[in-house]
Amino acid sequence: MKHMTEEELIAYREGVAAQRAVVAQHLAACEECRAELERIEAVLAALDTLPVPNPGDDYGRHVWQQIASRLPERPARWWQAWFEPQRLGALAAVTALLVVAFIAGRITKHDHPGNDVATKEQIRERILVVAVGDHLSKSEMFLVELSNAQPNSSPGKLVNISAEQRRAEDLLEENRLYRQTALQEGDKVMASTLDELERFLLDVANSPDEVTSAQLEKIRQKIEARGILFKVRVVGRELQERQKATKPAPAQNDSTKIERNKA
């Protein structure tokens, strides 16, 4: 009797044999080949005991959290994002500011007919100052509240942060808009601060609805470790000052630059 080759037996064992029925028939009749197949199976069975760690039930969500901010934007469909319900609020706010800016621009044009280009630039900057100032003020309040939140539960008990998540989601939408605008305007310090804020907001928005006290503490530690609150405050204060100024958008002085760079 002609015995099966090792290759044929491995192919049979791994389910890739061309003629399974023929091999099966032979195995039924040949003790030697059965013994050989058993030896192959013993090795494979040992390999099957090698463990694979369980990454956890929440792993899919964790992966999403890790990659969401790194997913590339799709320029071909960029306009669609503006009509998502979450963004309509931010869109409305910007539209209102543009209307105000347009009216202000017309008035300013009559007052200073010889300084048209400079005035337009100043108005654009003021729009950004007002809108981002408001956003940073809301973000600061959010960060302060989150930093000072005291869970009224025992260490092992879960704390519901779904309300904070919703606020983070709202802020996130606005934040993306302003960060992109700041980048387009070439304001790198502003864009960088908003970028850091965005990462943190994303973390909160993608956290589980309920977290343990330890997880909440980690969130707080992130605020502290990254200095997010401090940076938001510094940039926010600066914008408030610029907003208060009666003259349109004064040029950035050296002390302001130093303060922002420190942040």
Binding site: R13, L50, Q66
Partner: protein, 192 residues
């Protein structure tokens, strides 16, 4: 579907575990496996335009992950060229072979044998070429079709089948002496 983040999020959450399992079995360490998972989904998102709607997303992302895992293994080999210690994993000891032997009654001899066997299995897997390890993991553990393996290895189906065969043959050659010892150790444990 291109650009639809919400839909993509559902896919990521649905397939992450399976991709992790494949990636871990190929890279044999958790940090690399997690990196492979993330990179596979990022690449999948970038290539969504090329994904055919009738195809299975899970299979498609598997292929992307396997390809990246091969790249990662190559990169890791370069990084660890100076290290001499074999990778023996601390995780998942609850599934250690010693606890899975049906008639297990803990005794020092069997424990020692199983630790040795596990170490040898890691060494044997590490000794396979990237193609062989990929082919073995995809076929034996993940049950992928030979055609899928061939696509990842960029070879013909026949060549992919041969790669599976070579991998099993090498593993057998390296491990059979230790598996034989295990049978003896188990017999001793039962008798005592």
């Amino acid at each position: 579907m291109a650009g639809d983040r919400d839909a993509f999020r559902v896919l990521v959450e649905r397939h992450s575990h399976n991709v992790f399992r494949l990636a871990y079995r190929m890279t044999r360490n958790r940090p690399d496996a997690e990196e492979v998972v993330q990179e596979a989904f990022l690449r999948a998102y970038q290539k969504l335009g090329k994904f055919e709607a009738r195809a299975n997303f899970g299979t498609w992302v598997y292929r992307i992950a396997a390809n990246y895992a091969i790249d990662r293994m190559r990169q890791r080999k370069k990084e660890e060229a100076r290290k001499v210690e074999p990778a023996v994993h601390e995780e998942g000891m609850e599934n250690d072979p010693v606890t899975l032997v049906r008639d297990a009654a803990p005794n020092p001899e069997r424990l020692a044998h199983n630790i040795e066997l596990r170490k040898q299995m890691e060494i044997a897997l590490a000794a396979l070429s990237y193609s062989e390890r990929t082919a073995f993991v995809m076929r034996h553990w993940e049950g992928c079709a030979i055609e899928e393996i061939a696509q990842v290895l960029k070879s013909s189906s026949g060549a992919a089948k041969n790669t599976v065969f070579r991998a099993v043959q090498k593993l057998r050659l390296a491990l059979q002496p230790f598996v034989g010892k295990g049978m003896q150790a188990r017999a001793t444990g039962t008798e005592s």
